[in-house]
Symmetry: C2
Subunit: 960 residues, 2 copies
């Protein structure tokens, strides 16, 4: 938008309109009216009791942002609308005679609770306050409203320090000798208003604006400005809300919930946001303004208590609730105020809810006939399901903790899931400690939008005040962070960074565990478990999702347990069974290490030998060449025989172990495909760390001959740590070996299928183990379906060679076992070069599986192991990267290469099976992309299988 | 080819013919007749004295290879041709009456000297030998021919051990009491023939074939077989000759150079293959067969001496030489035999020559009007020019070596260039040592084709026998390896692996230096220099090449010296000036190290500070937010100020140094573009090695408190080695820093433009240094033209950010200096992702430069630092890779991405300058590819600039 807007800005607006009275708008106009404005309009149209008002559109906010000032003529229009409003109310704006008071609130298209600014009681001045006093018959109320307005206006519109006004109140209370605000009389408040105005004059360098019109225009501008305040920016980034949506401004006639005990205010949900149960829940406060509920300063009553206090209004509210839910066909989150016995609806919006609640509500609403199955599926954000699989404290762990007296306190269960971590008290500390790799629990009296960045990185949130609608609770639920609020037993000393609960004191850095589902706070780090099954409602939703999705959903699993878990979660196959973890297991590692230490000598000798033997083919036995070569062969054989035999012995030991590994997984997944990846990581990863060895050897060599006592002591320390009986000579030999295998860039080194080409015996052993396991199962009548995946293919020649090697072994096993096992041989596509030759590659591969971790690594040239500790945080901060490409697949670069591979791979092999087994396979946006590529399946960790199923359905529906 | 060939194989042949009499063929039929056969046919047609014969085509060889046996009917056809030949010669094949004797020789399309087999004197048996004796009037000659034939046939055709026959000769000489072969009489030889036949019977298990027809067919088959013998395969691989060309078989009537002193044999070149001078050179041996010259067993006379011996024949040979050269318009390499005063031409072919000779001949032939300039340009293989830039021994080094008595001996200068390295005696040892990273000089009495693999890896070759046409000399010249032959002063003891020259003895592993240009052998390792200029002829050729080429040729140079050298060699700009080497220089490294150690703290603190300061913008000064943030800022400032100032101080020290670096290069290249790459490698590369530090610290910590004497000693050792006064505490701190900066995969880590984004001050300093240097030069009237290259861009956002950063500095410098400097800002394309977003990237980059080293690394996922030591040799051996993609650009994968980048980059920025600065930029095949991509220039090391100029011309002509 350019400066020309200043004149013609209205022409660019929808219908060329900058403001809408509530009667003119509706729910469908969310984009320009914002959520709040659209719903207030809708409720007005539906005939519910909404205080009248109008909306300045989000588009005007964008004009404001572009211009950096209020657009020409906007002020006049706002004042014109206000005049109309006054007329409607039969009041006068800024007048002492029946003054019109206004609330000025922000309202973006997507709700950003508490992120932007609000001014209440606007329109009060020295004259109007008298009118309010007269009209309400309560002078104290009027002056309290006035002083609140000045305080709020000073803070929100002028940015003056709120606490200075709080000091003045405190001073006043001291001066007149009272303890509570409510004990200040009208006279005291009058004096306080004068003090406030003096303070305002001093701080702002001008008189407090008494002109109601000026107040209004400044407030509207403040709301516009608040769109780009830092906390709003942080929130939008976390929530991935575009920065260019803008906020609308809702100008509405005030109603007062603080006009005595016949007044009140509350928040009501049509169903339980925690469980999804169909019953009204919420908070209610008598004689309070709405902000008091949200701010979490006063702990409110449960909503139901309203039935006792205002039985008629309760009925009316229930009626409105039902109608609204039916109208919107979704659970509603409403704000209401009771002013002297009259109910006013101040807001309705789709209610935030826990994942569990979301699922139950969606399923219930289908049963109730409110929505159809497809709508139900689309109601659940895939990522939300992760919350259903939150860690929990196992029964026995809990019992033990209880018996040990670890239970400290119980608060309100505000967001489910258990979390354990170190205590921090400040948002900045949370960020700092999380960055260092700690899991942190943010503990505070209450949270405010200023704490958003700290909350975003916390594993759990714990507050001592506030109810389930408090800021902490709302945000935690939205982000799926376990949270307990209102845990009043905690005495938090922020200055000392200490918490006292009864006679226990803990502080920053101490470990605690919280259970957001029960509200329990426990001392120390408790062992948390992952859930193994889904609720019936979740299964129902996922069953519906399965009808829509086109993508298969496989799981990445290396053990029978994981495989079984994945199957329980709905996996239809194993997309990635890594074999390296099997090598790492304690009982095997010594064999693996020994094998690796001689692999190179054995294989290279064998290779040399084979080459020489091949060179003899067709050569006359009496020629010089034959004689010379035969001599060379004999010499080489003598040298190679020992390592070669040892190597094969060790591989022979590994074979039955591997066979057992594969047998377990193939059995767990019987009838489904199991893609087993042959060994992939650099071999030296299995050897001991270089640095440790270097230190050990250096220590011993330094002490040798210098101090034999110290030497012996060092050696026995080293032996004890290593758990073996190594001598210095052996350690030196090991060090030399490890050093010789060190690579500058192991991620680009001796790994992938390169292992299978340089060390063919290892791959052969693995293929044999797979095929033997499958054959044995088949003999038992178990349908084992292995797919052999060759990792890191970059050229067609590699694939041909590895395939031929594997097929030779398979043929051997088939012959030995006397049966054939259905199988496939394919490759991971994880190097850019593979994508460029996919058309040829698919002619020798039965399947492709995108290894997007490595593909992202090589396409970007980002080391995944290093990026997070070096440039990645700066890149994200400077928005060089909008997202971490290791988390969300980069469609433009990596995705383009993937598309090339799919298209060209299928062109020359129509039946090519293509999937993805990188971590992106369980990330909803990436799943969406995989659907658009037409992949056969996505594969992800067992816990993400439900997410992937749902995401796949979303993708299919969205892209249909 | 399939088995059906057995019947119908002839139908698949050109003109359906399997054999051609010489009269039927011609030079244009090289593909089917092979080089030798085609040229014998051509000479026959031209009326030169060629012994009659016929050719079995190369296509028949391929049929043979496919069938694994002689095709049906081929034998009959060969015998039919032989009958015709006998008739033409008025002789009878296999008869005692005027027997026809034949030579059977291989002859491929591309010459493979000595690689395949030959049988001479074929047709001899117990009857025919009598006829030969009668006809020649020399019984001794006849039986000598017979025993030679049996020996050759046994070796070549039957593969029997040659040395066993040599033993029989030795036994015979002992028995009759003579020393030399020539002293054996006809009777002795007759007896020897019987011994030979006995031996044959014993070894081969059959009688020696007396049927001439059988002899012939077995010999033809032996030639076919020899096409795929191991040494031929090795040769073809080294020379990149396809394996499916096949060899022809030339069957030709024998002439004898060993019929007494009126006979002889020789090799003649029409011009000097060493210098290119227009004068006949070659070798000549009286009373010898042709093989004796090539075998290097007898050291022959220079060709010119023939003028004295056979003045008439000399004239005839000169006449034929001139006619052949004019006919073929190229320098010829001819074999001839004089039989009892009559000259026979046995072969003519394009003569191999040194690079220097090739260039001179091409230029001379243009002057002589024999060829045009384009032909001259195409006559020089670009890679050959590398030989003109061979290292040499500088005058002073040579003088010093001489004065120190290092000159050991002088042999024949067989292939120019100096080489230094360790002595090896066996081809296998050469390969082994070269693989270990040694430069080796292969020292042997003589070489044979069996040594080819060792010669291929040698830096120099030295033989004690043989002349300039010996195997060693021919191969060395062809491959451009410095070589000395016939250095008879060397007494080589192969068994002991020792050489004695006078009273000096040296052996395996000792260092020597040879000068193939002078024939001098020197003891020890001499310092070699690189040449700085080109010969006038080379300049002429390159001048012609420049007319044809479309690609610009730039050089990679980091210093003014290199830049000047590049300019001398014809560089038209600098395509890559790396700035990291400048950081490494001794006087700067301490500053750089100190700078790096605090860079992170300084930059991150500064970043945090800027962020906080930005967050204050528009926030009221009295707000809580303002107050809190201001407090934070103050705290942070106190913490950051010191490192920030120190950091800037250090950068301030580097600035004038860098300015000086750039000034020198820009001045050397005045008027031409100089592309300067901002800092690229991981910063930790500038820090001390982790392992060393770890050892130092561990040693000291181990001794601390254990043995104070040993501790002090260790510390002073460490201090002495480091050249500083570090304490244990300082070393520990340094170790911690180095460890914290260690990356798992530095090639994919904190490097590239990531440095400029995480540490902007470093890039800013560099940009300032460049622009200040250019400004200062401009003020002096020197036309400095810098291009600023941002390395490792992967996303458009990176480029935008780095460009904006650079432009801000440029604007500052322009303001300070009061002038504008013409410049460009572009990027290296060295990550696959850059190629996928090239269309967007070119909108914010003035130029692209392909960094094909890194692009190959990431596209293949091959670490360049590790591949050679791990899988690459196996890959090349197993032909998983045909070539090392770090040497020759991989067109299919990397090339495809390059093409995408060029096409899409230019689509959105028509004027985009695109070049290449990876090492491929000087490799002829890669240059050819760059031409096909339509790049603006290639950039390579200064020494490869001439090669690139010529390669670019070749590409333009070939692709026209």
């Amino acid at each position: 938008m350019t400066q020309t807007l200043s004149q013609d800005w209205k022409k660019e607006l929808t219908d060329q309109k900058a403001t809408y009275a509530f009667e003119e708008g509706g729910a469908k106009m969310k984009n320009i009216l914002g959520g709040k404005g659209a719903n207030l309009s809708e409720m007005t149209s539906l005939g519910f009791p909404v205080p009248p008002g109008f909306v300045v559109t989000t588009e005007v906010c964008n004009v404001y942002s572009a211009l950096g000032k209020m657009p020409d003529g906007l002020g006049d229009e706002v004042l014109q609308r206000t005049e109309e409003l006054a007329k409607k109310m039969d009041k006068k704006f800024g007048s002492s005679d029946s003054p019109l008071l206004l609330s000025v609130r922000s309202g973006a298209r997507i709700s950003m609770p508490g992120m932007m600014d609000t001014v209440l009681n606007l329109g009060l001045n020295d004259e109007a306050v008298k009118g309010l006093a007269k009209e309400s018959g309560d002078e104290r109320f009027a002056y309290d409203a006035y002083r609140r307005f000045i305080q709020m206006f000073s803070d929100v519109v002028m940015g003056l320090p709120k606490h200075e006004f709080e000091h003045l109140i405190a001073d006043k209370k001291k001066e007149v000798g009272v303890v509570f605000d409510k004990d200040l009389t009208a006279e005291h408040l009058k004096a306080l208003v004068d003090d406030f105005k003096d303070k305002f004059r001093k701080e702002a360098g001008r008189e407090f604006p008494t002109d109601a019109k000026e107040q209004l225009l400044l407030a509207v501008e403040a709301v516009f400005k608040s769109w780009n305040n830092p906390r709003a920016m942080v929130y939008r980034e976390k929530e991935r809300i575009p920065h260019d949506l803008g906020t609308a401004v809702n100008v509405q006639a005030m109603v007062f919930g603080n006009m005595g005990d016949g007044s009140g205010t509350g928040v009501a949900f049509t169903r339980d946001y925690n469980t999804g149960e169909k019953k009204p829940v919420g908070d209610f406060l008598i004689n309070a303004q709405g902000e008091d509920v949200v701010a979490g300063i006063r702990t409110p009553q449960p909503l139901q208590e309203m039935e006792n206090v205002f039985p008629e209004l309760w009925k009316e509210l229930q009626d409105i609730s039902t109608k609204l839910e039916n109208h919107y066909t979704d659970m509603q989150d409403m704000e209401f105020t009771v002013e002297k016995g009259k109910l006013f609806m101040l807001q309705t919006r789709t209610g935030k809810r826990t994942a569990q609640s979301a699922v139950k509500i969606a399923v219930d609403m289908v049963e109730e006939g409110l929505i159809d199955e497809k709508t139900a599926v689309m109601r659940i954000a895939p990522e939300q399901l992760d919350k259903l699989l939150h860690p929990y404290i196992p029964e026995d762990v809990k019992k033990k903790a209880d018996s040990e007296g670890k239970l400290l306190a119980k608060g309100t269960n505000a967001s489910p899931g258990a979390a354990t971590g170190i205590v921090v008290f400040e948002a900045n500390d949370a960020v700092h400690k999380a960055h260092e790799g700690h899991q942190v629990i943010l503990v505070r009296p209450e949270t405010t939008p200023d704490d958003a960045h700290g909350m975003a990185v916390a594993k759990g949130i714990l507050t001592s005040t506030g109810g389930p609608s408090s800021h902490a609770a709302l945000v935690a639920r939205g982000w799926g962070i376990p949270c307990i609020v209102g845990c009043e037993a905690l005495k938090i000393d922020l200055a000392k960074k200490k918490v006292t609960v009864g006679d226990v004191t803990f502080g920053e850095g101490d470990k605690i565990t919280i259970d957001g589902g029960t509200g329990e706070v426990l001392l120390g780090e408790l062992e948390l478990h992952e859930p193994t099954d889904l609720s019936p409602e979740t299964k129902t939703i996922l069953g519906w999702a399965d009808q829509y999705r086109k993508l298969g959903v496989y799981a990445n699993a290396d053990t029978p347990t994981d495989a079984q878990r994945a199957r329980n979660f709905g996996a239809e196959g194993i997309g990635l069974c890594r074999t390296e973890h099997m090598f790492m297991e304690k009982d095997r590692l010594p064999i693996v290490q020994e094998m690796i230490m001689i692999a190179s000598a054995a294989e290279s000798g064998h290779r040399e030998l084979t080459k020489l033997e091949d060179s003899l083919k067709g050569v006359n036995k009496e020629s010089r060449q034959h004689r010379d070569t035969s001599e060379q062969i004999a010499k080489l054989k003598a040298k190679v025989e020992k390592p070669w035999n040892k190597y094969n012995d060790l591989l022979g030991k590994l074979l039955p172990i591997q066979r057992g590994d594969f047998s377990g997984i193939l059995e767990a997944m019987k009838g489904q495909w199991v893609i087993i990846r042959l060994l992939d990581p650099p071999l030296h990863e299995f050897l001991p760390a270089f640095g440790d060895l270097l230190v050990d050897v250096t220590r011993l060599k330094t002490l040798q001959g210098v101090d034999s006592g110290a030497y012996d002591k060092a050696l026995s320390e080293i032996k004890a740590r290593r758990g073996d009986d190594a001598t210095l000579e052996q350690l030196e030999e090991l060090l030399e070996k490890v050093e010789s295998m060190k690579e500058s860039n192991p991620m680009l080194g001796q790994r992938f299928c390169r292992l299978g080409i340089v060390f063919p015996e290892i791959y052969k052993m693995q293929v044999r183990a797979i095929m033997e396991a499958a054959s044995e199962l088949q003999k038992k009548g178990i349908d084992a379906k292995p797919e052999i995946m060759i990792p890191g293919i970059g050229s067609v020649e590699e694939m041909k060679l590895c395939r031929a090697q594997a097929e030779a072994v398979i043929a051997e096993v088939e012959k030995e076992q006397g049966l054939k096992v259905e199988h496939k041989i394919g490759t991971m596509i994880e190097l850019p070069r593979a994508t460029t030759v996919a058309g040829e590659l698919s002619q020798v591969a039965d399947f492709f599986s995108f290894g997007t971790n490595d593909l992202t690594q090589t396409t970007y040239g980002y080391s995944r192991d290093d990026a997070a500790g070096t440039f990645m945080p700066v890149y994200l901060e400077k928005e060089v990267l909008k997202r971490d490409p290791f988390q969300v697949v980069d469609r433009k670069g990596v995705g383009r290469l993937m598309k090339m591979a799919v298209t060209e791979g299928r062109e020359s092999n129509e039946g090519l099976e293509v999937g993805i087994c990188g971590e992106h396979g369980g990330e909803p946006e990436s799943v969406d992309f995989c659907h658009s590529l037409g992949l056969n399946y996505v594969s992800c960790s067992p816990f993400r299988v439900p997410i992937a199923r749902l995401a796949a359905a979303h993708a299919a529906i969205n892209q249909a």
